[in-house]
């Protein structure tokens, strides 16, 4: 068999599949976004051009859900990164003795998001949430009812991120740890010989070498956090009063609850474009130069 | 078993890089042919085109009488030994060796018999049930050989099969492969960049440089009558010493000094017979230079040269000499690396010599063994 034929044959099942179940739906999505179309009766569609986009870009609820997504993703990413990277540094500092630490730390890594959401809801919820009882027990808050994590509209978008942080800090930590252990020892030693103190070594040697790893973490985790649905859904269903409704949930609500397929498709298209652009930008800006 | 012939074979990678240029030669049935040349000269590429692993850009390749340009490797009936051995890590030695037979649809008991035979020949009998990961480098090399010899293919192709072994094992395996090939009588192409391997193993040796075939001949002829200065410098170790000189009648003018070239040389080489003040490149092999005060050579010419380094090896003494004439770069990167960038000449002195660095040695040059090349074309003058 000729080489190109072989390559084509091996590639085609996956290519056809992805074409049918990813590319075609994307086309369908974009197509829908130009119509006024109802989920219940999709046949009665009316072409309205860019109107759905205009509506989406001017709707307050959509704008708010978009900015909430940003709040959620940056809050989650910040703490995941902070905790994860510190954990990795700690593990690296105790090196061989960190085997067990790392094993236990890996526990949440594959926990289903739905379980993580439930668990954190249970930890935070109203009267029975154990977190507040503990905080009250050590005197941080006056009484267990003092912070209403999941029903305070100003707080909820951050409280729902706890589950995300719990779930994925391990990922950040273990990937960073692998990156740290990949740094050649003699580079650090050389810097030590050159008289660089620990902080300088970290800043001038460790951090630049970790750049590609950090880039991948930020891209992968950032995009995933912005896409979050299940974790928040199970905790609050977007409430109270849409205070934790992120963008993906807004799209879902408008599609399923209000059946407004056209407008939801327009937002979904915008969402898709932003995600892909974000990933592409991060790829070119951070990942590429580190490898060039 | 079959003859192999290449006619005007070219390989161009990605429309730009011309890796093999107009390669033409013929390998006899049962012959042991060695491809040799510096790194990157296209040896592997040529071999892989014969194997069918690399597409032939243009030209005609025949195995037996059949044109096989577009025949799949599996249908060429050729066995190959890779530099990395490419053993199948999940299969035992027995399964590794049996695999080509299995693919050829040979019945189980016949397979077992042949594997046992091959294992006996290669002294692998005790290791048949191990995985490649549990073998030493030398044993792995034998398994790779076993996978090739277990069937009787039309040809063996070997791409630097010994380069991952240590020096001692390499010498031993070199002899074993050569004698095995002679016993089996299978046409073999063997790629190496080690000219000692090439000279000791090959019936004939093809020297390549930058994708161009320089010369194909028996080791003796390559050594005695290299076609150009590249082959001259590449074959033989240490390398032939090459300097710009002038031929004036029967005198060779080398810097300030002169040597008399015997008339027998002119008789054998009409190209230099009647030259006056003709610029040439002269080549002197290290073994043709000795210490004039202790040499046993019957006839020689004498010149003087300062000694820069003396390496006593026991049976002989390598002496680095400063010849006062323009040094010539033959284009062989390994040769340059070997002598360093001082551009000294090397003489292979008899161990009785007493020269020391800083001395000026009186050299005995076997003038009847001098090589002459045209400075323009760099081709040998005969």
């Amino acid at each position: 068999m000729k080489e190109p034929t072989f390559v084509a044959l091996m590639l085609s099942p996956a290519a056809v599949f992805l074409g049918l179940l990813v590319a075609y739906p994307v086309v369908l999505l974009i197509w829908n976004s130009f119509y006024e179309v109802d989920l219940v009766n999709p046949a009665g569609r009316v072409w309205i051009g860019l109107e759905n986009y205009a509506d989406a870009l001017t709707s307050r609820r959509i704008r708010e859900s978009a900015s909430r997504t940003l709040q959620y993703a940056s809050f989650a990413l910040l703490f995941e990164f902070l905790f994860g990277f510190c954990a990795a540094l700690l593990f690296a500092a105790i090196a061989e003795n960190s085997r067990w630490h790392r094993t236990i730390f890996a526990l949440p890594i594959m926990v289903p998001p739905i379980v993580a959401g439930l668990l954190w809801r249970f930890l935070l919820v109203g009267d029975i949430g154990i977190l507040n009882h503990w905080l009250a027990g050590i005197g941080v808050i006056s009484d267990p009812g003092a912070i209403r994590w999941l029903s305070d509209t100003d707080l909820v978008i951050y409280s729902v991120a706890f589950a995300d942080i719990w779930l994925t800090t391990s990922f950040v930590a273990l990937v960073s740890y692998a990156g740290l252990t990949n740094i050649p020892k003699d580079l650090i030693e050389a810097a030590r010989m050159d008289g660089a103190n620990a902080l300088k070594r970290f800043w001038h040697v460790t951090l630049p070498l970790m750049r590609p790893v950090i880039a991948v973490i930020v891209i992968v985790r950032g995009v995933d956090a912005a896409k979050t649905f299940d974790l928040i859904w199970i905790q609050t269903q977007g409430g109270p009063r849409q205070a934790s409704e992120v963008f993906s949930m807004n799209i879902y609500q408008r599609m399923v609850r209000y059946g407004d397929l056209g407008e939801a498709s327009a937002s979904a298209t915008l969402f898709l474009i932003v995600m892909v652009l974000l990933a592409a930008f991060a790829y070119w800006k951070i990942w590429k130069p580190a490898h060039g | 078993m079959a003859k192999i012939s290449l006619k005007d074979i070219n390989k161009v990678y990605g429309d730009k890089f011309h890796a093999i240029r107009d390669l033409t030669f013929h390998i006899e049935d049962g012959e042991f042919m060695v491809f040799v040349g510096p790194s990157g000269c296209g040896k592997s590429t040529a071999l892989r085109m014969i194997a069918g692993l690399e597409k032939i850009t243009s030209g005609e390749l025949r195995i037996g009488d059949e044109i096989v340009n577009d025949v799949d490797p599996k249908d060429r009936d050729i066995a190959m030994v890779f530099q990395s051995y490419a053993l199948y890590p999940h299969k035992t030695v027995r399964e590794n060796i049996a695999f080509p037979l299995q693919m050829a649809g040979i019945p189980r008991d016949e397979r077992a018999r042949r594997v046992t035979n091959a294992a006996r020949v290669l002294e692998l009998t005790d290791h048949l049930d191990r995985k490649p990961g549990q073998l030493s480098g030398g044993q792995r090399q034998r398994v790779a050989m076993g996978r090739a010899i277990v069937r009787q293919p039309k040809a063996f192709l070997m791409d630097e099969p010994l380069s991952n072994l240590d020096a001692k094992l390499r010498v031993q395996m070199r002899a074993e492969i050569a004698s095995l090939q002679r016993r089996l009588g299978v046409t073999t192409i063997y790629v190496t960049h080690d000219q000692v391997e090439a000279m000791t193993m090959g019936d004939r040796v093809a020297v390549l440089k930058a994708g161009v075939l320089q010369q194909v001949d028996t080791p003796q002829i390559l050594y005695a009558r290299p076609r150009n200065i590249f082959v001259a410098a590449f074959i033989g170790s240490p390398s032939m010493n090459l300097y710009e000189a002038t031929l004036d009648g029967e005198l060779l003018v080398l810097g300030e000094q002169t040597l008399k070239v015997p008339s027998s040389v002119f008789a054998a080489r009409p190209a230099i017979r009647e030259s006056a003040n003709r610029p040439v490149i002269v080549g002197i092999r290290p073994e043709d230079i000795d210490d004039a005060s202790v040499t046993t050579k019957p006839e020689f010419e004498e010149i003087d040269a300062p000694v820069s380094l003396v390496e006593a090896l026991g049976a002989e003494t390598m002496v680095h000499l400063k010849i006062d004439a323009p040094w010539v770069d033959a284009g062989d990167p390994d040769a340059v690396a070997e002598i360093g960038d001082e551009h000294t000449a090397v003489g292979r002195f008899s161990p009785a010599t007493s020269v020391r660095p800083g001395d000026t040695a009186r050299l005995a040059i076997s003038a009847d063994s001098l090589h002459f090349f045209d400075p323009e074309t760099r081709v040998s003058l005969w």
Binding site: P112, I128, S265 | Y88
Partner: protein
């Protein structure tokens, strides 16, 4: 001597910090397990206690005796197994040529997979709904398998491509010299040689499907609901019956957690492969 002891002090502090951090991440899950083992009546007591004062499997019995839960678990297993098989069948050959036959089309294909990895599920949900509906596959196991496979393929493909990158090209070449066609070389040599990498990828495909929520929510209603959907619905149907819910959550997550702990090295390897290798 003094220096020595400050050094030890520093070490101890670092050790203690690491331990504290690790424990604080394990505690929530331990609490979930503990809660599920409390008698139903104690689950929502105020103030809550960390440990059960009496171990009880009451919550587990409640879960197992519901109509929906055992069915949902079976459905989850079926969907995840089929997704794993289908994803591998599609990805292994594609990842192999993508990694070993570098050319514009394979590079483009990998890039496409990378982009697909970034596409939000919610964007694809509705068109997938329309597509499956027109194929009559809504609320069927196979329909959900298709959706889950579309999410698993890009992930598994990139992971496998990274594994295949490390395979010497000579494996295939040697097999072809030994009489295999390219396809036989792939089947008889490449796949067995790469079996550990393929196993890890299978695990990732399985977990992707096992953990998936949004597609299951959108694309199933009666027949093929998976466990996470039923657990989420527990919430509304039975009021806030936290006891059985924690038991269901433990049942649903414990297999994955145990696998993660046992195969920690391989899973971390899989997660870090792309990231660290670059």
């Amino acid at each position: 001597m003094a220096e020595r002891s400050t050094f030890d002090m520093g070490r101890t502090i670092v050790q203690a910090l690491a331990l504290l951090l690790v424990l604080s991440f394990a505690v929530p899950y331990v609490y979930l397990v503990m809660t599920s083992l409390k008698p139903a009546a104690h689950v929502q007591q105020i103030p809550p206690s960390f440990l059960p004062n009496r171990i009880s499997v009451e919550n587990y019995l409640t879960v197992i005796n519901t109509q929906s839960m055992p069915r949902a678990f079976l459905s989850s297993v079926a969907v995840a197994v089929l997704t794993t098989i289908l994803s591998l069948a599609l990805s292994v050959p594609a990842a192999y040529v993508a990694a070993q036959y570098r050319r514009p089309i394979t590079v483009f294909f990998l890039l496409f997979a990378l982009i697909t990895r970034m596409v939000p599920a919610v964007s694809l949900g509705v068109p997938l709904f329309q597509l499956l509906k027109s194929l009559g596959l809504l609320d069927t196991t196979f329909g959900l398998v298709l959706a889950h496979t579309s999410a698993a393929v890009p992930l598994v493909l990139l992971l496998l491509a990274a594994f295949f990158d490390g395979l010497p090209k000579e494996m295939e070449e040697a097999a072809r010299m030994d009489g295999c066609s390219r396809f036989q070389a792939f089947l008889y040599i490449v796949v067995p040689v790469m079996k550990s990498g393929i196993a890890i990828s299978a695990l990732f495909a399985f977990i992707t499907s096992w953990n998936e929520f949004l597609y299951a929510l959108l694309l199933t209603s009666q027949n093929s609901k998976t466990a996470p959907i039923v657990i989420a619905e527990f919430n509304s149907v039975y009021g806030l019956s936290w006891g059985p819910m924690t038991a269901a959550a433990v049942l649903y997550s414990l297999p994955v957690v145990l696998v993660t702990l046992v195969l920690q090295k391989q899973i971390i390897g899989g997660l870090t492969f792309g990231a660290v290798k670059g």
